[in-house]
Every structure is written in C-alpha cells, then in structure tokens.
C-alpha cells in the first residue's frame, strides 16, 4: 500500500501574533527587530510582578469576519460565548483558508480534518461575579456551597462551560469550515501545536484525510490566567525595557513574558495540493516526539534525531533551527545542550533562530506561530537575526544568528519545542522544489 509514501505539504498559513496579524507586517517586524512586547493594555496590571507582555494588537473579530456570509455571521453571533483563545483561533482559521486559496466548499468535508493545540482556557471571572458575591462568606477561601448551589448557579449563563472547554477552538473551526474528517485537540503544554501538526501529518500519510487546518491558539489575557501564570512561569523583572526583556540564550536572561496568539497552517497531501493547483509553501518531511526524563536535553535530542531520520537527512543538511527558547535561565540551557548533542558545537552546526524576544511565551501556539516565522524566512531566502541575544551564555552551546539578514542556503529547516515538564517535539521542513 502506498500510504507511507504520501507526501505532505503546507499550502496556507494564518497567524495573529504580538508582532502583527498579516504576513507582510510580521515579516517586516522580524526584519526590523521590532519586538511586540510592551506594557499590558488589556487591563490595569500595576500590582502584577511582571507588567509587560505580548498582546495581539487591534484584534477585532467584527472586522475580520464577514457578516454577509451565513457561517461567518453565525460565528460572530457566537463570539460572546467564546473565550479570547477561541475567537483568535476562528479568525486565524479564516486567514489560513484564504491564504491556501481554499474557497468555501472547495474541500470535500469528509476528507477535511482538524488537528488543534490548546492548553487550559480559564473561566472569565466576571461571569461568576454575582454567584461569587452571593456565596462568599467574606473570609479568605470560604464559600458557602449551599448558597452557591441554591442561589449562585442560577446567576450563571447556561452555556458558561462551553466558553472555555479546550476542544472548543476545534469545534467552532470545524463548524465554520464544514470540516467533518478526523478531529483532535492536543493539550500538551507548549508543544501542543507542534504535536497537533505531527498528528495531522501522520493522518495524511495513512490516507485518512486529504486536507487539514492544524495549529494552535492560546491567550492568557484574562484575570485568572494572568494570575495563575504569574505564579508558576519564570517571568522577567525587566518591566522598564520591554523591547529587550526576553533574551533567549543571552547571559543576562531572567525569564519570559506572557504573550498570546494563534498560528494555523493549511496542510495537505501533495497529490491533493497539486490536483487543486495550490501554491506550495514548503513540505513537511519529518517529525519526532520524546520526553526528557532526566531534563538534560537527551529527550529533545531523541526527538530531533527521530525527525531527521523520518526526513532521511543528516544533521549537516539543516540550514537553521527555529528554537523554543523562552528566555528561561534553565530551560534555554537544556535546549541548547540538546541541539549541541545532535549538531555539535563548531562552525559547521546550523545557526539558531530564537524568536521569543518578539513575542514572549505563546503557550500551545508557540510552535505554529514560530513555524509561520520560519516559513516566511524560507520564502524570502533570508534569516533575520534573533534579537536580545547580545552576550551568548557560554552555558548555551549554540550559534545564535544575530544582526542582519543571512542568506538561507540549504533546503532543510528544523523546528523544535520543549515544555517545562520535559515533552519535546521536532519538525523538519523542506523548501519545495518541483
């Protein structure tokens, strides 16, 4: 059976990021080294320890979706029952379909799948305001559950829970685009998006679908999410210098900032893409996953080797590596060591592209958004210099490319991802030549 030889290509992308929501603007910000990290505007955060972050600017579902289209209009009407993570996802899915030149109805619904990444989506505290006032006793941590059950519950919107279930981005996107094929939501922390894309590739290869929207969405711009992540993420103290705050692999790095965004790719079998005359942005030739049991980078090295092996290439074939690199003192070091395990440390090792300086932490959406950055670089044939890595940490044995645009010469690019727990993911892209 020929399924294992089915090739998988990327034919569209949509992204909403702290450095812009159209591809030209994103590329310009990457070339200019202009970070999207700034003081938070979503609400007054003066009492949070970290008061800067990467917000998606000027996000407006009303501007992005078309009222005259019945499906888009239904999505707009449903927006009030969608957390911001879901709203961002719906809009980016439209961008990805438009970029793929896939008109409504152009993809056979039963062969149209969704593989999406998400993390926990927090409740909106305002939705629980009335119920909380009624049932709180006034003492810290004291709630009268009898009052909550009797008087609190009726004060909450009937569809409240649907606003934040993690599979709701995929659910709403499937309805908007009539995608009735395989559908999954991967909730694997910061590698969720990359793992979702890997799973889409696997499904396309085994011929259970022809076309996927795949990627991830993540926003922490709610009071509860901001509080929770302020408690367990390692965040920078550089509130006064947002542009230079997140410093992957730099000796002075001291943590990340909370960002948000969505990246969605249209991914399909080569045969399907060629049949419909799609423009092919790149080919996905390898993927790998692993777990870093000892947190020394061995797991990430395993994932990278698995991806290179599936791609059937040697480390020397890789032009550059798009890193995960949060700017976290410990995790950046582990990641760098993993890269060095596979590629060595000399001049022959591929350069590293680290982009969290532009965006901060992106949760599940990190991988897909950074793949969009990577695809833009591949198409321009030029790699922008990573920002804020001014003094490379000698503990991070990688060659970070800084400064101006660098010509891309080799056809293969590696994307990696890493979680605080130790989950690792790697994806290999190839420039598409007919």
């Amino acid at each position: 059976m020929a399924t294992s030889s089915r090739r998988v290509v990327i034919t569209g992308m949509g992204a909403l990021t702290p450095i812009g929501s159209d591809l030209a603007a994103i590329w310009q910000a990457l070339c200019d080294g202009r970070s999207g990290v700034a003081p938070f505007r979503a609400f007054d955060v003066s009492r949070l320890p970290c008061r800067i972050g990467g917000e998606v600017p000027d996000f407006s579902p009303r501007k992005a979706l078309n009222r005259a289209d019945p499906r888009e209009n239904a999505a707009l009407k449903g927006m009030k029952m969608m957390a911001r993570t879901i709203q961002l996802a719906l809009v980016a899915s439209k961008f990805a379909m438009a970029d793929a030149h896939a008109a409504p109805g152009a993809i056979e619904p039963s062969r149209f799948g969704l593989e999406f990444g998400a993390t926990m989506i927090s409740v909106e505290v305002d939705d629980l305001m009335e119920a909380s006032r009624l049932s709180s006793t006034g003492a810290v941590g004291q709630v009268d559950l009898k009052v909550w059950g009797r008087e609190g519950i009726p004060k909450i919107e009937p569809l409240w829970m649907l606003k934040f279930l993690p599979n709701m981005p995929a659910c709403h996107i499937s309805i908007l685009h009539d995608a009735q094929g395989p559908s999954n939501t991967i909730t694997e922390g910061e590698v969720a998006g990359l793992m979702a894309i890997s799973e889409a590739v696997r499904i396309l290869r085994r011929n259970d679908a022809d076309f996927f929207l795949t990627g991830a969405s993540d926003s922490k711009m709610s009071l509860l999410s901001m509080s929770r992540h302020s408690l367990f993420l390692s965040l920078t103290k550089r509130n006064d210098d947002p542009q230079r705050a997140v410093r992957p692999f730099d000796r002075q790095r001291d943590g990340t900032v909370i960002g948000e965004g969505t990246g969605i790719l249209a991914v399909e079998s080569l045969e399907h893409a060629q049949k419909r005359g799609a423009r092919i942005r790149a080919e996905i030739v390898g993927h790998g996953g692993a777990f870093d049991v000892r947190r020394d980078g061995t797991g990430l090295a395993t994932a990278i080797r698995a991806a290179l092996q599936l791609a059937n290439i040697a480390p020397g074939d890789v032009d550059f590596i798009s890193a995960h690199a949060l700017g976290d003192p410990e995790l950046d070091r582990i990641e760098a060591r993993a890269i060095a395990q596979v590629f060595g440390v000399g001049e022959s090792a591929p350069v590293v592209f680290a982009t969290k300086g532009w965006t901060g932490y992106l949760g599940a959406a990190a991988g897909p958004i950074e793949l969009v950055f990577t695809l833009l670089a591949m198409e321009h044939g030029q790699l922008p210099g990573s920002i804020n890595c001014e003094n490379l940490d000698p503990e991070c044995p990688v060659r970070v490319h800084t400064g101006g645009l660098r010509p891309i010469q080799k056809p293969y690019v590696l994307k990696v991802g890493y979680t605080d727990m130790g989950q690792c993911a790697a994806i290999v892209l190839r420039r598409f030549d007919k």
Partner: protein, 431 residues
C-alpha cells in the same frame, strides 16, 4: 486494510473507577449489575440541582503509592492516573532491557480542578458592589496571595502524562489530547497509529478525569446535561430507557499498555486483545448538539470497520457510548442501525455508564478495558435500570442481567461534546 502493517495489541491494563480500585473489581461489578452511584461526598452538594455522582470510593493515594505526599499538588486526575498506570505496568510485566526510547505515553486527560474556594472568594473580594466588573488589581492581590503555585501548575493537562513518563522512565513520544468524552478513546486510537507508523513500539495510553467538583457539576447542570433524579440516584443512569433524563458524572482513570505485536511476542507477553480498527470524525454541526441524523457517528463507525477490514456482521457486541441523555442514546442507536443494518438487531449492545456513570475523558478507555475483559471471560455486562422501552431505541441492550456469550470482535463508541466521534474495534487476538 493494509495487511503488511504493524499490528497493535493490549498487553497490560489498569483502572480505578467508581466500581473499584482495580480492573478485576470493575469487571465484577459490571457483570453483577452493581451501581457505583451515590450522594456526592467530594463537596457539599446538597443544594445543587444534581446531588449524586459515581465517585471513586475510599480513595487514599497513600494506600497505593509510597511517598504520596510528593503528589500533593496534583489533581485527582493525576492521582487516579498514577494508580491505574501502576496496575497496568505491573500487569504488562515489561522486562528490563527493552529500548525505552521506543516507549511513549498518550493520554486523553482532563484538567485538575480549580481552587474553587480561593477563586470564588478572590472574585467576591475584587468585585464588591456597586462595581459591575471585577477590579483587576484587587483580584491579582487576592489570587497571588491565596493560590498555591504548585497546584495551579499541576492543573495543566500535560502534567499527568509528564508525571507518568518521569516515574516510569518513558522517554518516547508523549502526547495528551482533550476531546471531552471521546478523549481517552481517541488517545488509544492515535497511539495505535503511532505504533503502526513505526514511531514507537510501546505506549502507555488511556485517560483520567474528575469533574465531580463544584465547577463541573455547575457547568453540566447549567447545560441541563445531568440527570436530576435526586429521588433515586442508583436508578438515575438509565441508558436507552424511555425515561432517561441525562447522564451521571463519574470519575477515575483507565490505563492500557499498547504494544507492537512482534515486540510483544518476542518478550513472551500476555496478549489480551488487538486494537483492530479506529475511526475518527467530526460532526461539524453545533456546539451543543450532535447531528440529528448521526452523520458523524455513522461515518466514524464505518471508518473503524473499514480500518479493521471486518464486515459489520463480524461485530458480536457493541460497548455503547450510551450516556443516558435523550439525544445521545437515540442518535447512537440510529447510527448503529444505519451501519450494521439487520445485523444490528442481532447484536447485543450495552452501556457500562448505567453502573459507573460517565467518566468523561476517562470513559472510553475504561469501557475498552471492560470490552477486553468480555473477550476473555465471555460475559457481557448489562445495561441496568432498563425498564421502559423507547420506541426509538429498539435494539438488544442486554437489559439488567449480564449475558454469557463468546464474541470475537467488539465495537466501542465514544462521542465527545463538541462533535468529536471515536470508534474502536477490539478483537480477540489471533496470530
């Protein structure tokens, strides 16, 4: 079907459920028709619209694991997963010396439960009348001083699969998915595909969940999805019965060891069953309702059968999703009849949820484990509380009393809130 592809078998299983702390207790309760549903004890629920659920009884982590205090920040889902994984790994008797980089994890997992009392009191302190919105900084002050960082971190869904990989040394691919009630079946299906594709030889798969907490019951009550039969909790879950009025929440975990066939044979493993077919589709219809004609469910069952290479007539028992909601049970019956045709009327169907409630993300794997036990013990569990036939649900639901029957192939369905449909075909292993 690709006859050359790698085959995937079940070589270990573990479960902690409302019907006991291991697989044997679970299956024994199932075939004796014992209900695990009772008044909620996890929290004070006496004024909630629904006051009962199927809780895991007498659970203390320290009875199962040394150093239980190490997991004090983790949610009940992780606690349950740790216990079920311990049973599954012991059952699989995996020898030292295997290539551990080929051993991964794939869970369908829920989140831990929010710090309800501290969250509600933080909102109340930050939203004092006459304010119409919560004051951000008042809320941050309250949250940052009362929340436990360790607990907040362990709420995240990927932590459970990470903890299992850490304590059992599983450096292979590590996945978590969350497709509501379909999650652990989907995890097993996709884990099977990872092994088939050659990316791993062994995967610890399944799922864990508890939504028997104030937010879980509040949310499902608001959606009017739960039974409110507070007068007779043990009779509340009545799948396919005319008078069903919603599902009953359960909790727990099920874990299986999935293994590539040749790998299992080489090490002389006990082979319990084969994962022969997997189907996955989406309704793409509505957020709250499944498609009335069962469009997605039909395509899903057909896909699983196609993947198994079996004709519909080969199916000897259907382990239904059978939630006991009006819509699910009607649509699922419709889909079974559409795919199996006349054979549907000759095929026994039952819902394990009639006894153990709905384990949400963990439901699918626990039902798969029960199905595997059916292949071994030749006794099919009944649907209890089946009293009044529904004209729209006219199949053989194994009413109230277990049935002796040797079957070769079982279909297990899981349909998730939000439209994700999963079907698995589980077969007696034949070389």
């Amino acid at each position: 079907m690709n006859t050359h592809r790698r085959r995937v078998v079940v070589t270990g299983k573990g479960a902690i459920t409302p019907l006991g702390h291991n697989v044997e207790q679970l299956y024994d309760a199932q075939i004796h028709g014992r209900s695990g549903i009772a008044w909620i004890r996890n929290f004070e629920a006496s004024t909630f619209p629904t006051r009962f659920a199927a809780e895991v009884k007498d659970f203390r982590l320290s009875d199962h694991l040394p150093n239980a205090d190490r997991w004090r920040h983790a949610g009940p889902n992780t606690h349950f997963a740790l216990v079920a994984a311990k049973e599954a790994i012991a059952d699989a008797a995996i020898p030292a010396g295997i290539d551990r980089t080929r051993f991964g994890v794939y869970l369908g997992n829920g989140d831990g439960s929010n710090d309800f009392p501290n969250l509600i009191s933080a909102i109340a302190r930050a939203a004092k009348p006459p304010e119409t919105r919560t004051n951000p900084n008042e809320f941050f002050d309250a949250a940052l001083t009362s929340f436990q960082p360790g607990h907040e971190y362990e709420l995240e869904m990927h932590t459970t699969a990470g903890r299992l990989a850490q304590i059992h040394d599983l450096p292979g691919p590590n996945y978590t998915c969350q497709t509501a009630c379909a999650a652990s079946s989907q995890a097993i299906g996709e884990a099977t595909e990872i092994i088939r594709s050659g990316e791993a030889d062994l995967i610890l798969s399944g799922g864990a969940h508890s939504m028997i907490h104030p937010f879980g019951v509040t949310g499902f009550n608001l959606l009017t999805a739960l039974s409110t039969n507070n007068d007779a909790p043990t009779r509340a879950s009545r799948p396919f019965d005319l008078n069903r009025d919603g599902f009953v929440l359960g909790e727990g975990a099920g874990i299986v060891v999935l293994e590539e066939l040749e790998h299992a044979k080489r090490r002389g493993a006990k082979i319990y069953a084969e994962i022969a077919g997997y189907g996955t589709t989406a309704d793409a219809y509505r957020v709250t309702d499944s498609h009335p004609d069962g469009r997605g469910a039909i395509a899903c069952i057909q896909m699983a059968l196609r993947d198994s290479g079996l004709p519909p007539t080969a199916i000897g028992y259907i382990n239904a999703h059978g939630t006991s909601t009006q819509v699910n049970d009607r649509v699922e019956t419709l889909a079974i009849k559409k795919v199996l045709g006349e054979h549907a009327y000759r095929t026994p169907v039952s819902s394990n949820k009639s006894m153990m409630g709905h384990l949400i993300s963990a439901a699918g794997v626990v039902e798969l484990i029960i199905s595997v036990m059916c292949l071994q013990k030749h006794i099919l569990p009944p649907t209890i509380n089946y009293e009044t036939p529904d004209p729209e649900c006219d199949l053989d639901y194994i009413p109230n009393v277990a049935r002796e029957k040797r079957v070769e192939h079982i279909l297990s369905n899981s349909f998730g809130f939000g439209g994700q449909n999963i079907s698995l075909v589980i077969s007696r292993f034949k070389d």
